[in-house]
Symmetry: C2
Subunit: 211 residues, 2 copies
Amino acid sequence: MRWNKISDAVIRRLPLYLRVLDELSVETDQELISSHDLGEKAGVGSALVRKDLAWFGEFGKQGVGYEVGFLRNELRKILNLDQEIPVALVGVGSLGIALTRYHLKRFEEDKSFNLKQVALFDIDPKKIGTIAEGIPVFSISEAATKVKELNINMVMIAVPAEGAQEVANVFINAGIKGILNFAPIKLKVPDEIHVGDADFALELQRLAYYI
Amino acid sequence: MRWNKISDAVIRRLPLYLRVLDELSVETDQELISSHDLGEKAGVGSALVRKDLAWFGEFGKQGVGYEVGFLRNELRKILNLDQEIPVALVGVGSLGIALTRYHLKRFEEDKSFNLKQVALFDIDPKKIGTIAEGIPVFSISEAATKVKELNINMVMIAVPAEGAQEVANVFINAGIKGILNFAPIKLKVPDEIHVGDADFALELQRLAYYI
């Protein structure tokens, strides 16, 4: 990849821009957007928008702005979202099921989401072999086989804190590259594995500072 | 407050430090921790740990480190988590219920969490007036009264994207100060309102970049 060294802070903002462009495409037939308007809708300053996008090419024209459809396609390509990405979720509890429903809804409604949940994993023999929300539940002991078979690159971990590290290890050994962690612990992973933190308890504690 | 100008990036890391200290207090009787060890467990460099904490006072001793119990209490005070903070959740769907369960479990198990979910809100007449997970469900039209009565400062929004901005407006008018938003839209709020983004779709899209 030619943009190996781009900071994660930049990458974090790309999905925000993509969401704005998606909304524009669905709700209006607006063809151009200025960095000012794109920034305002994404909650980012216009200079930073221009700087972020400049990492990946010359997408805009001075005084004209960005072409909505073109930039949207480019962002999808950059984020690998121009193809379906198979993902799995581990932990078929109430949180896991709710996340699955939410995930499937996003996949259905949002063409730029493109992360398709294809498998569930659990350790409970009563759940293994069943279908939940239309998705098969496998045993965690089948991780290696299923990750290969279904071409899974990413897992969401929605198991209790005590089990999360072990689950992460199993799936890293099975070959996944990214983890979205809902469990309230900090996972230890090799450098080449990317972890997203979806632990909203931390976010609530941050907000508590401001009240 | 004397630490008005501290950047949000610093505030974001405080709950990570607090979590490490909480785990140490529960699992060990370790009384001191170096900035190196605290940083390693929190996933932050040791120099940054020292810099972050220095904003709030002289908590550590050179060559000795931080007192675990003392620093833990100080962080709780800084984050306002030395008192119970009443929060509400809007949207009693499957995501809302799963988040409520998860929230109550955190509140139960984690003494530094201290955000107590005291109310649910919905617009569905079939849900209003019922009790879900032990918590009363009120109508969104009662927001102003209930926010005052229950001293609610923060709401979690778990309604569909289409309704999220309106819900945010209602609760901001009712007097809340912080929002944790699970809906996949960027909320427009006045400057004095703090919003946390708990939209995991964005986080998955970011991870897709790396695979």
